[in-house]
Subunit: 102 residues, 2 copies
């Protein structure tokens, strides 16, 4: 027995959980962009220089699973998908802002 649960052990400490959720090459930038705008896949791909579909798709999927982002299908003019910061995501922004003026 190494670890009781089949999953990759979620940290008990909220700070550790936060760091884990935002660890990765693109997640921090995706998060920051999401604080100022709704995100769309191809737009993001163009905004983030050097990024590729695969990595962005993974980052977005995981951030959604972690409850940081919310995915919405917009059934309009050009049918598309929006990723927005969730309640949980929003709540972390104020904490990060404190870090700003530290």
């Amino acid at each position: 027995m190494t670890t009781p649960d089949a999953q990759a052990t979620t940290p008990v400490c909220p700070a550790e959980a936060m760091i884990k959720m935002l660890s990765g090459k693109w997640k921090p930038q995706v998060f920051r962009l999401a604080t100022t705008q709704a995100l769309r896949f191809n737009t993001l791909l163009r905004q983030l220089e050097g990024a590729n579909k695969q990595s962005l798709a993974t980052a977005l999927r995981e951030m959604e699973q972690d409850g940081l982002l919310e995915k919405t299908v917009i059934r309009l003019k050009p049918l598309h998908i929006e990723y927005r910061l969730s309640e949980k995501g929003q709540s972390m922004v104020s904490v990060f802002q404190l870090l700003e003026q530290l």
Copy 2:
């Protein structure tokens, strides 16, 4: 020209910088332990199940370089080395505590 600077581009955003400094398998746990005690290499190795010398050495070295930890040689009884949270490291603790009661 890919990136002007030779280094691995330090993020402008403090939150991104923080995440980058604490990204890695062992750094979050090392940081948390450092909030409650002075750290010693071999003790840490025993405390962190599954950790190995190499990874811990790297984590400690990088966290020191990032100004999160301070390394001190204790010239006493059993000559040894202590790693303590720096001023900078301490200042981040209060921010993390906010995350706690969110």
